[in-house]
Symmetry: C2
């Protein structure tokens, strides 16, 4: 029995990340005000700060106080927010709402939303490059995960596959890049900030990837409960039972990657289990 | 009389930058192929590689061989190309053509063009962070110049001012951020790659800023010859004669910033004069 309380841990991580984002984002009084309003509107929209929590929990696991990884945590949340803003645009998923509020382009217009996304992506790298340790490695890790062979590549494949029954290889490509790459990067950035050895980095990287893949399957399962959703989903191909089994198997894979870490990895383990249990 | 030949110098810089871009950009055979095709379509569209030439000429001026600054040169051209792709989108300037060919979104569709721009912006930072010297400083300099207080901020102000007569402060804000920030960053990145002292960096930074401001006025003068152009222009406020005088004055300011540099800065001086002389 562990006395560790995941809910309060995630709450603390979210608060630290929120405070850092307030510090790193330009004030709404800095011109052009509408741009900074749009950036803050989307960054402070009630997101759960899951990716930053994985950055901070990884740093924790390696003995680095949260302050040492806060640039990485804020950077990955800025980057995640840019992907949501651009995803919602009319030429992409064309979503008018996000977390119960008008999406960024419904609130500020398409051009301002496009540019707010661009500015958040840019600020993510400026923030990572301002970290106290390993700034260039943080930037390279984040950029490789976010770029054409990572998140952006996954989005292109996702758009191409929408509305068609996808084969298993296509599903894996999309889940790997659209989602798992950023979870992997979150964990790797926490590890790099803490000065992890290559072996430790590799094990944590496997944990981040498996957790991200499981997270996306669970997301697809949750979306499957909404019959109006026509976006790409692995459930059309795998079916509900097989998708649930695959998510559980990936979560076990994530746990095995942490075998050598002992109790210092308790936050990572519980966070990964919590993501799985959203559907079960 | 200098024996220095600017035309052949710029040609060499363009060739080196083009070769580096070919190396750093993923091949069109890497999935998702359409994304990499779109990125390469826009990067290899016949651009003049002016900003990379300023990176390389600054490195030259400080005794750094071109190879030492090639990451910075390629990064700034990727970043410049992303701004062109996003600028051309329907929600921005809605341009169907760029350099005599269909713009990226006319050729590949809006979503792919949006994502190709995102991927180039991301790759610009990955490339800068892979430089052999001062990678984190290069990323911070490029991001600060490109972000919400730089190029993106200038574009928001430019869109807000289009079609209205702007006052001189607004013109300066737009020119400073939409254009001069990236010229300044080009020169600063060349200087950082070469390990410049703070005083040298500051002088070169003044040179880059003044050259960029002059460049944008000359661009507005060239656009004024096309009566179909309705985008924001300083000519509506300043008039042709006053704009020409201001561009010449800024070029002189750029020359004065190089006073302490002797003949090693000949490429920078001639390049700045060449940009001015496009209209006269």
């Amino acid at each position: 029995m562990s006395a560790f309380n995941l809910k309060s841990y995630l709450h603390t991580c979210g608060q630290l990340t929120g405070e850092a984002l307030h510090r790193f984002l330009p004030s709404e009084e800095v011109p052009p005000c509408v741009l900074h309003q749009a950036m803050r509107y989307s960054v402070f929209a009630g997101g759960k700060r899951i990716r930053p929590a994985f950055v901070l929990a990884t740093a924790d696991c390696l003995g680095l106080p949260h302050g040492g990884a806060i640039h990485a945590a804020a950077a990955i949340e800025m980057l995640h927010t840019y992907t949501l803003i651009h995803d919602d645009l009319p030429c992409m998923d064309d979503d008018d709402f996000r977390r119960g509020r008008p999406s960024c382009h419904k609130q500020f217009g398409e051009a301002n939303a496009l540019l707010a996304g661009d500015a958040l992506l840019t600020l993510a790298f400026e923030t990572a490059a301002s970290a106290p340790a390993a700034p260039a490695s943080l930037v390279r890790t984040l950029a490789a995960a976010a770029g054409s062979r990572g998140v952006v590549g996954g989005q292109v494949a996702d758009l191409a596959a929408a509305g068609t029954p996808a084969d298993v290889d296509t599903i894996l490509f999309i889940h790997e890049h659209k989602t798992a790459d950023l979870f992997r990067a979150a964990v790797e950035m926490g590890a790099l900030a803490a000065g992890a050895t290559p072996d430790t980095l590799a094990a944590l990287s496997r944990f981040g990837r498996a957790t991200g893949l499981a997270f996306q399957i669970v997301d697809d399962l949750l979306d499957a409960e909404n019959p109006a959703d026509t976006s790409f989903s692995c459930i059309h191909t795998l079916g509900i039972d097989s998708a649930k089994a695959r998510a559980a198997e990936l979560t076990n894979e994530a746990m095995r990657a942490l075998d050598g870490f002992g109790s210092s990895a308790e936050a990572l383990r519980q966070a990964a289990r919590y993501l799985l249990e959203r559907t079960t």
